[in-house]
Amino acid sequence: MDVMKKVPIKEQEPKVRATNFEEVCLGYTKEEAMEEASRCLNCKNPLCVQGCPVSIHIPDFIKQVKEGDFEGAYHTITFSSSLPAVCGRVCPQETQCEGKCVRGIKGEAVSIGKLERFVADWAFENNVHPKENPNKNGKKVAVIGSGPSGLSCAGDLAKLGYEVTVFEALHELGGVLVYGIPEFRLPKERVVKKEIENVKALGVKFETNVIIGKSVTIEELMEKEHFDAVFIGSGAGLPKFMGIPGENLSGVFSANEYLTRSNLMKAFNPDSTTPIMIGKRTVVVGGGNVAMDAARTALRLGSETYIVYRRSEAELPARAEEVHHAKEEGIEFHLLTNPVEILEDENGWVKGIKCIKMELGEPDASGRRRPVEIPGSEYVIDCDVVIMALGTSPNPLISSTTEGLEINGRKCIIAREDGATTKEGVYAGGDAVTGAATVILAMGAGRAAAKGIDEYLNK
């Protein structure tokens, strides 16, 4: 074995997986995991832990994996994280734990994400669950949203003895984990449902089909239903559009709509009653994880698929692994390219997308070089479906119905590090505060808010 390199992990062949919705990565076996774990240097000052938004005791759990104590490893991880099977699959490890790994200086970082996934999957298979705290403190907390920040906040509070109820607007629990991230990246039955079962095992209650701000307000939750504190983890749900001509044609979708149809409503399954438009040729606009998810979904549904992104490869915000997988599966990237108009056929359907080539100019506010149009470089990509994956912003439903809850210019709820908002007893975290970000950052914020709420209620 080459100690400088990661133990390779099995994946479905690109050509095979491009036609199905089964998970791409097949995970480590026990032996492979133990071998990979042995690469960990068990640093005295573990930088990987600093890179983790929820500060998992990484060297400790890896040591336990090395010794074959998988149950111990699971309890080490779940001390800090409520959703290890999810994080092991969707965290951008290359910029977090693995990005800091000392092994990575001269060779490849330890495969921390894949080891976390292995441990969580082992726990599912062997019926190892976190345990409910029998010592209740008699205080009630409402958590709004059952996505990553809400689940993480609810899990932590339940461990501390709070009586927690999570309210979810949709009919299914999991937030972006069920409506946003596709099956082939995060299996719903095998992973998401089981993680939620584990949060339930901690004693957390769930109520679906409740839209806070519509079905009930935060004031009512606190005054009539006697919740001592509220955590808002409502995410960033509103899709952005470009404002170019043709965006309302039939065949133009937000990535949210396309992915919700496929993931939440199971439209990828021909038996589903919810339809989805499968184009002959699909163009996805954007370069983030959501763009990759939408493109790889369209591809699997049988469409020839292109990605149009206005910056260059280096600026693609998606996880490196997703870009790599998308390319392997045959998705064609039109980089430094920006749409200017969506073209219409005689029936009001999309028939193509007119794009212009870009070049990189001076760095902008984000520090990335700003793309500038190259005059006269317009060209048309023929297509019948266009998916806009340009990011999302927080839903104003809650902020507009809660007096005293302040938002900033981007409609994000204003919250301190510990999650406290401008309204007493109300905490917030995740995309509702930061705008669209990652699962693990939302989980980190949910954790911080659980701590903040605990301190507030024990003042």
Binding site: N248, T260, M265, T273, N395
Partner: protein, 295 residues
């Protein structure tokens, strides 16, 4: 699960359910809608609220069978339950916020087409309960498709019923009745029009001529109903609006109906049209405004 306290067929292919949904019933207002799923694996269907009872905690919905999902729903009887029932969604009708004295001095005409009678009803009822008399036009294709006549009669000022084929009430489309009323010397300040998009379009063309402010309730394709998917986006004036969170009611003179109708057809080739063609043979000839059969 949301228990069904009453289930009734109102007319051919039109069904009514009274559903126990206390959270929704405690806060819903005229103009708002709910999303329901009949079974665990059903499609999410947006439906305008037809009535509610805050004390009993019930919400009434009326559904017309237009596709597989609505057809399957008809198997739900009294004592059964909807798997999911969420709401209220969207904004209440504007008048709910207005000063009642001002409303009493405003001449309202409500125009309901077909199934649109159901969402018009709670608005007229609200007016009645607040002491505001309003006129109502109810249009249907034919006599046995007129729904909720008795309920409407109890709360409306003048009620004008019309059928396209003249089999009941006045004869002709709702637009003809409105024109006739104006010809008879009636005048209105606000028109609220709910029905198939094609009908709302033509009512708006007419009320523009009368310089009559018109509010319409849009029923585009939706998935989540909370602003997340953007499927329900509409062009209203120069702006793009989401029917689910910005509406469903808009200034009808600003709505781009042609675009909205094109967008509504998007899945109909797959869902409603194909299904109805198979299920009903040649009995369905469009006109419901939902299936695209009229195109």
């Amino acid at each position: 699960m949301y228990k069904i306290l009453e289930a009734k067929m109102l007319a051919d292919n039109i069904y009514k359910w009274v559903v126990l949904a206390p959270r929704c019933a405690s806060r819903c207002e005229p103009g708002q809608f709910v999303i329901v799923r009949a079974f665990e694996d059903s499609e999410r269907i947006p439906l305008t609220i037809c009535d509610y009872d805050r004390e009993k905690g019930t919400v009434t919905i009326v559904v017309q069978v237009i596709g597989e999902a609505t057809y399957l729903m008809t198997s739900l009887k009294e004592g059964d339950a909807f798997h999911d029932f969420v709401g209220p969604l969207g904004k209440p009708s504007e008048f709910v916020e207005e000063d009642v004295e001002k409303l009493k001095n405003t001449r309202f005409i409500f125009v309901a087409g077909g199934l649109g009678t159901a969402p018009v009803y709670p608005q007229v009822k609200w007016m009645h309960e607040h002491g505001v008399d309003v006129d109502v036009i109810v249009g249907a294709k034919t006599k046995n498709l007129v729904i909720m006549e008795e309920e409407m009669k109890a709360v409306a000022g003048n009620l004008y019923i019309t059928t396209d084929d003249g089999s009941y009430g006045r004869s002709g489309m709702v637009t003809k009745v409105l024109e006739d009323l104006y010809a008879e010397g009636k005048k209105y300040d606000v028109c609220v029009c709910i029905g198939p998009m094609i009908m709302m379009k033509f009512v708006c063309l007419l009320t523009k001529k009368f310089d009559l402010h018109t509010i319409v309730s849009m029923n585009p394709i939706m998935v989540d109903g909370t602003g997340m998917c953007g499927a329900c986006r509409l062009k209203v004036g120069d702006e793009i609006k989401f029917a689910c969170v910005d509406g469903p009611e808009f200034d009808g003179h600003l709505v781009d109906f042609d675009q909205a109708m094109k967008r509504q057809q998007m899945y109909k080739t797959k869902e409603g049209r194909a299904y109805l063609a198979a299920k009903e043979g040649n009995t369905h000839h469009g006109g419901c405004g939902n299936c695209g059969g009229e195109e």
